[in-house]
């Protein structure tokens, strides 16, 4: 009964995503970028003992940390503000469904789109690596881990997008907030941390605050999780040094918890919307 109601929204939202060409755009974007990375990774790296796919996964991680949050925010910023603007929200809210079910319905639909896009992109990159290097089979667990953690990262930013959409109540405002969140969490956050670490020069900030700051940001936790799980390539990435000091379970916990926190925030923000 409850599931049926949630899936009713999911079906509708998925249909809308297909008709708005979101499925096609997101999938094409992920496949193109993944293939470009796979081709770039095909150049000899001199990394002896590391298979081609593991190298590709490391570069895909750096790609996804930017692209997955961006796609998730682009799909979600309109979710509530758009309903307010179209005037469809008052009628929807008179139906006998809790607001969290409306959000869950949208979340499932957008997650399906994101999973399709990420899955197609990673599958293309994986196939390309396997074609060139038979030893790449060793990298398949890393690729699988990257896939599901990317979906969870997407869920976090979808939830964040819904929260911003409910707070802004207007699509233009929500779009601005979404861009701000993306810049802040994915770009500026790391730059700020880097500057602080350099200025601190190995002091208490670097040893105590810095690891926590990385775990507190869902994007950093995602990168940390995938890189520390594949330590062989960790040195290739910017946060490699820190990745070594933080236990895997901590970054995994952050990756798992953030979607729930984001959904909670989105529900709280949506509950405050008065049509």
């Amino acid at each position: 009964m409850t599931l049926n109601r949630i899936l009713a929204t999911t079906g509708t939202e998925f249909r809308i995503a297909v008709r708005n060409r979101w499925v096609a755009i997101a999938t094409a974007l992920m496949v193109v970028f993944a293939l470009v990375l796979a081709a770039a990774g095909a150049a000899p790296t001199g990394d002896v003992g590391v298979d081609r796919l593991s190298v590709t996964v490391a570069s895909l991680t750096s790609l996804s940390v930017y692209l997955v949050p961006l796609l998730a925010l682009l799909m979600s910023f309109d979710a509530i503000a758009g309903e307010v603007e179209r005037g469809t929200l008052p009628l929807l809210l008179t139906y006998p469904i809790p607001r969290v079910e409306i959000l869950l319905g949208k979340l499932f639909a957008h997650l399906v789109v994101l999973t399709l896009a990420v899955g197609a992109g990673y599958a293309a990159a994986g196939a390309a690596a396997l074609l060139v290097d038979g030893a790449s089979i060793a990298g398949l667990p890393a690729l699988w881990r990257l896939t599901w953690s990317s979906v969870l990262l997407g869920a976090t930013f979808l939830g964040a997008g819904y929260a911003l959409s409910a707070l802004a109540r207007r699509p233009s405002g929500a779009a601005g907030l979404a861009v701000g969140l993306w810049l802040g969490l994915v770009v500026l956050y790391d730059l700020g941390l880097l500057a602080a670490v350099v200025a601190n020069d190995g002091g208490r900030f670097t040893t105590e605050v810095f690891p926590l700051a990385l775990l507190a940001n869902p994007a950093d936790a995602f990168r940390l999780f995938n890189l520390s799980a594949a330590e062989a390539t960790a040195a290739a990435a910017g946060v490699g040094g820190a990745a070594a000091t933080i236990p895997l379970w901590q970054s995994a916990a952050s990756v798992l918890l953030w979607p729930l926190i984001a959904l909670f925030l989105a529900t709280a923000a949506f509950r405050r919307v008065r049509p």
Partner: protein
């Protein structure tokens, strides 16, 4: 028989501006109630409060024995918003299937519902291509889902052509006969006059009149208009016998208070009269009377 909707002393303020002021009334099962009032009188605001979309500032409301907006109330109340809007990328059928599933009904009923509002031919087209009246009908179709005990319809006939309006009121008659209570707002007084049982008139947030049309007519005590057509050549005599008669075309119009109607009729019958027409005050007259009295 308990009321489906009971409102007592409802007040609503928007930052200092009083949109509804101490409004009380109730709606019985099976009755069709029309909510009338000028633009900005507070009709839509009242409906949103009944639906629990916005909260009132004072007074109490019971909807189907539950609080407005509670899950119990929402399961039994259908709503048609003032400007029914839907996602333009969905077809009428897809939209209705979603609404049916949200109410826990079988989505296969979508086509039958669209057929009831005369939209079956366009069911597989996107709502973005619909005309205003067609969108309005999608709104009507979703309000018919399940067996709502209360229908709250905000200007349901706006945008409908005359034939569709008649069909719509026939639909309402069927629902009311099954025991549903209907509260609708409208600016089309003539159709409301013929098709509803009870009338509420709001003016600047105040409920200035309430009752069946006959009661309101009596309470307003508006004069009756008689149009008298004299027999050929009798015009001058008739005008002399009826002081105050105003010549209109070939006829004369006389207004008289309700209680003098019969005496005047008797007098006119003795004169040389070819034809006689008695016009009671229309709902429009009654409406203007009540909304002017307290509204200014």
């Amino acid at each position: 028989m308990t009321s489906t909707l009971t409102i007592s002393h409802l007040t609503k303020r928007f930052d200092g501006f009083t949109a509804l002021n101490d409004v009380s009334f109730s709606v019985a099962p099976g009755s069709r109630v029309a909510l009338l009032g000028h633009n900005g009188a507070g009709k839509s605001t009242m409906m949103k409060i009944i639906l629990g979309l916005i909260a009132g500032d004072g007074g109490s409301i019971t909807v189907c024995n539950a609080a407005p907006g509670s899950a119990e109330a929402r399961a039994q109340v259908a709503y048609l918003p003032e400007n029914a809007a839907f996602h333009p990328a969905l077809t009428g059928e897809e939209q209705l299937r979603q609404y049916l599933r949200l109410r826990g009904e079988n989505p296969a009923q979508a086509m039958a519902l669209l057929d009831r509002v005369g939209l079956a031919h366009a069911a597989r087209r996107r709502i973005g291509t619909y005309s205003k009246g067609m969108r309005q009908r999608v709104g009507l179709a979703q309000a018919l889902i399940g067996h709502p005990r209360l229908l709250v319809l905000d200007e349901p006939t706006s945008g409908l052509d005359p034939v569709s309006r008649r069909d719509f009121y026939a639909l309402l008659d069927g629902l009311a006969a099954e025991g549903a209570a209907i509260l609708l707002s409208s600016h089309a007084l003539t159709e409301v006059e013929a098709r509803t049982d009870h009338i509420l008139i709001l003016s600047k947030g105040v409920l200035v009149a309430e009752g069946a049309l006959v009661d309101l007519r009596r309470r307003a005590a508006l004069p009756i208009v008689m149009t008298v057509v004299p027999q050929p050549g009798q015009g001058a005599d008739l005008a002399a016998a009826l002081p105050g008669a105003v010549p209109v075309g070939g006829a004369y119009q006389i207004t008289c208070p309700q209680e003098e109607k019969l005496a005047l009729l008797g007098r006119i019958a003795t004169l040389g009269v070819a034809d006689l027409e008695v016009t009671p005050p229309s709902l429009e007259d009654i409406y203007s009377h009540f909304s002017r009295r307290d509204g200014q």
